[in-house]
């Protein structure tokens, strides 16, 4: 089941904290963030937790897709 997390407008570490809350047991997560810094921080956290990350969008609108490896 895919979970969507909307972290738009939130500054780090809040998006990572939101991700942390749902990451256990999830297989696919769609994460919406709005800054490159958040994309990098969330990617680092997701990869550490065994997820493959792809990112679409740019300039204030990013859709990150996290899939369990």
């Amino acid at each position: 089941m895919k979970i969507t997390v909307d972290a738009n407008g939130l500054s780090c570490p809040e998006p990572v904290l939101k991700l942390k809350k749902v990451i256990d047991g999830a297989s696919e997560i769609e994460l919406l963030v709005d800054s490159q810094t958040c994309v990098e921080n969330c990617t680092r956290f997701a990869e550490k937790n065994g997820f493959a990350v792809t990112v679409a969008g740019g300039r204030g609108q990013f859709v990150m897709t996290l899939k369990k490896k």
Partner: protein, 358 residues
């Protein structure tokens, strides 16, 4: 494409910033204060006449940092006008952080520069800084949030860099209405062009590396991500080597440049800085970078720093080499109470779950 940066990128960033600091020290910036966001904001506040009891000089380094961050964020298409995440609360937090920084005599970057100069008071202060961050993390884990920001008009995102250009014009034109210290730390300065160039380099490097003196420690604790700590280590090592070469390294507590030896207040001052900055989401330098990148919440935070600096010197809260002041100690108690109140009132257990749908 790789999304995250390698470890070496932050090490290189640290080396560059360390070298820039060493160059600034060589060309005349104060001892162990080659680069300090809090002190330089205080100097600029004085230069504009908003405080008349402390150092006065519109520091070009800060202008360079903001403009560097603005230019590089624009080129990299990361510049985005954002704001509206509890701006007044951020202003107050900014004031409190500045009061703490001026009790210790420095922001986190100066803490590292002081340690690199052999100032053991700063090593003691580090305990408080980490303690403050841990307190902030406690609230973050319980759901602390200043709520989301929103897109803003283009002008809102460029206003802060424009103000900095105007400050530069003021500094160069030097009309009688701005102030220049004739003695003390405000009179110790590298030439304008070198300071400005140094600021531009730091702004660009800090924007690209996401350098933040709070987030590294915070993320190490919260997510076991030790990435940014390498950057601090790199700055420390480079400035330490530069100090040893130039003969300015002096290990000890007493007679350190622009520092006092009241260990408890060094701890408490930086505790306030660490706690407040964690709630703000970044250290004073990071706020400057974000303000340059279009974030008007950070611009408001910087105004909070300015107000904090004005209050600190006009009301005699700021410490000096002689030590803390009674007013400063009272202000500390008030500020810590305010920051705790902000933390408590903005912590709701449910917020971390908001915006999640299955």
């Amino acid at each position: 494409m790789k999304i995250t940066r390698g470890k070496w990128s932050v090490v290189i960033a640290g080396v560059i910033i360390g070298l820039v600091a060493a160059v600034l020290g060589h060309f005349g910036n104060p001892g162990n204060m080659q680069l300090c966001i809090a002190c330089f904001i205080r100097d600029t506040t004085g230069g504009l006449g908003l405080q008349t009891a402390g150092p006065q000089y519109i520091r070009p380094e800060l202008i360079g940092i903001v403009l560097g961050a603005f230019i590089i964020s624009f080129i990299k298409r990361e510049h985005a006008p954002k704001g509206g995440s509890s701006p007044f609360t951020r202003f107050i937090l900014g004031m409190c952080v500045m009061v703490g920084a001026l009790i210790f005599l420095g922001c986190p970057i100066r803490m590292i520069l002081r340690i690199a100069g052999g100032d053991l008071n700063a090593v003691i202060g580090l305990i408080g800084f980490v303690g403050g961050i841990l307190t902030g993390v406690l609230f973050l884990n319980k759901g602390f949030s200043l709520k989301r920001n929103y897109d803003q008009p283009k002008l809102e995102g460029v206003a802060f860099p424009v103000v900095n250009v105007l400050l530069l014009v003021l500094l160069i034109a030097a009309p009688a209405l701005i102030f220049f210290s004739e003695k003390g730390p405000g009179s110790m300065k590298a030439p304008i062009l070198i300071s400005l160039a140094a600021g531009l380099i730091v702004g660009i490097v800090a924007q690209r590396s996401r350098l933040c003196f709070v987030s590294g420690t915070r993320d190490a604790v919260m997510f076991r991500n030790y990435f940014m700590l390498l950057c601090y280590a790199a700055i420390l090592v480079v400035v330490l080597i530069a100090n040893v070469i130039s003969g300015t390294f002096k290990l000890g507590f007493a007679d350190q440049p622009i520092a006092h030896t009241e260990w408890l207040w060094n701890i408490l001052g930086l505790y306030l800085v660490g706690f407040g900055s964690t709630l703000l989401g970044g250290c004073p330098m990071r706020q400057m970078i974000l303000a340059g990148s279009g974030n008007s919440d950070s611009a408001v935070t910087v105004l909070g720093f300015v107000a904090g600096a004005a209050v600190s010197h006009n009301f005699g809260l700021a410490s000096s080499a002689a030590g803390t002041t009674p007013n400063g100690r009272i202000a500390f108690v008030i500020c810590v109470a305010v920051v705790f109140a902000i933390a408590i009132f903005n912590t709701k257990k449910s917020t971390a779950g908001q915006g999640v749908r299955a």
